[in-house]
Structures are given as structure tokens and as C-alpha cells.
Subunit: 144 residues, 2 copies
């Protein structure tokens, strides 16, 4: 697993309120999904996203994130091909992580899976055909 | 507040175990404080750190982070001068954030303060004279 990170997602109770806060700081949204269920900002070579907490819990099949070690923060490691997702999850498990959700096609059109590090922090490993990584591994949201 | 981020810190229950996990993934530590109380990795233009959860709680004067919205993840926004710390915290409060810890000189030799976003996620605003930002705002740990 290369020494880099693609996206930080903060899960939030009120998406409009969270978006208004970061916009009031002067940040500008990069793009949104058609359903407006995610708010995306491109930072310095990484993505930053706001996502409804309840929806994330349902997708993951987990309970109240506010009492888990991760607390509703998800780090993402994006890869360059579909096959790399399962391979990277295997690496993480070999290193001592715990598989949370196996590699699978996901509703937004990509392929991803999740693991937890030894303290419970959540990492998503994702192949996103709509926002390919650049040569250096930098990430930015593409327009949707 | 510029649209960028400097460091992601995961607070952990067992620093040696957490470090072993990320090293087993193939990541290499950039530098450590003399006291080895923080483990630092330089990623793609951002820093990534592992820090003892109990120590962070004591420094912040807060209770069990595992049951707070942030869950022991801290995002850092580093600034180019000492004066910018208080100014940036003011901006965050004006935008709807909550001051958590006012700007002050800190034990590691810098100057920093903390705010929470509307969902409770923690941001540190820091001036670190030992690891200055580059022109573009990219961050990397300097050798200590």
C-alpha cells in the first residue's frame, strides 16, 4: 500500500449545516453527486467530503458511529485499477487490520471495500473510474 | 481559511501496535519527537500522525474521545505565522464553529489552538516553526 491518502470524509448529522460551515470558511465545493448526497471539496492533492452519517451507517451495516473509535471519519486510499482493491485489502489484513466490508461494486459506480486499523479507524480502498488518480497519486474530484 | 489541510492525526490506544501496523503496510516513519510520543509519516503533501489517545485527552481536558463525534481523529490546518493561529480560530468561530482551546504556546515549541466544526470534528490550527509550509501550502515533517 503506497504511502499516501486520497480522501477524508467526515460523516455529519446535517449535511446542509456542515456544508454551510465550510463554505463560510471560504471553501468552494468541487462537485456533487446528482443526488446531492455528498458534498465534495478538492484540497491540496486530496479530496475532502461531507456525507450523511445515518446513510453511511446503513451502507456499512453498523450501529452508532459516534461511539466507535472512528467517530464517523473515513480515510480513503484510492487505487488505479479495480483489481487493486481486493489486493490492497488483503495487504491490510495481513498487516494486522480487520476486514470490514469486502471488495464489491458500489452504488456510485466504483468498486471498493473497507478495513479497520488496530484502533478501529476506518479506511476505504476504492477504485473510482470517474476521478482517476494522476501520475503522482494526487486526487481531485472530477466534475459529475 | 485557505482550502487545504496539513495533518491527519489518529489517536491510538497502543502506539507501538499502531506504528507496527502502518509499517507492515510498507509505510516509513519520517521523524519522531525526542520523547517518541508521536509517530509521523509524510504522505502526499500532508502529514499523517499516530498519537496516544490518553495523552491527547489530557492535553485537551476532555473525556472519552471514543464516544465523541470526532472519535479521536484530529485534522490540522497549519499556518505560516504565529499571529495567524488566533485569526484563523476567529474565522472558524464566525463561520459557526466552536472554540475548543484558545491559541497558546504549546509544549512542542509551536503555537496552536483547536476548534470543533458543527458536528464535533476537531481541527487544530497550528504554527509549527520546525516544519514550515512550502509556497503551495504543502506540508511535510522536518527531521527533529
Amino acid at each position: 500500500m503506497e504511502q499516501r491518502l486520497s480522501i477524508i470524509t467526515l460523516t455529519v448529522d446535517d449535511l446542509a449545516r456542515a456544508r454551510a460551515f465550510y463554505e463560510a470558511l471560504g471553501w468552494r465545493v468541487a462537485s456533487e453527486t446528482a443526488a446531492s448526497e455528498i458534498v465534495c471539496f478538492t484540497l491540496n492533492g486530496i479530496g475532502f467530503a461531507l456525507y450523511p452519517r445515518q446513510r453511511f451507517r446503513e451502507e456499512m451495516g453498523i450501529g452508532d458511529l459516534s461511539c466507535e473509535a472512528d467517530g464517523g471519519v473515513v480515510l480513503a486510499f484510492n487505487v488505479r485499477s479495480r483489481d487493486e482493491v481486493a489486493k490492497t485489502l488483503d495487504e491490510a489484513v495481513e498487516a494486522g487490520g480487520t476486514l470490514m466490508k469486502a471488495a464489491a461494486d458500489v452504488f456510485w459506480g466504483g468498486h471498493s471495500g473497507h478495513f479497520r486499523d488496530p484502533d478501529g479507524h476506518i479506511w476505504e480502498v476504492a477504485w473510482n473510474p470517474f476521478s482517476p488518480l494522476d501520475e503522482s497519486g494526487s486526487f481531485s474530484w472530477s466534475a459529475t
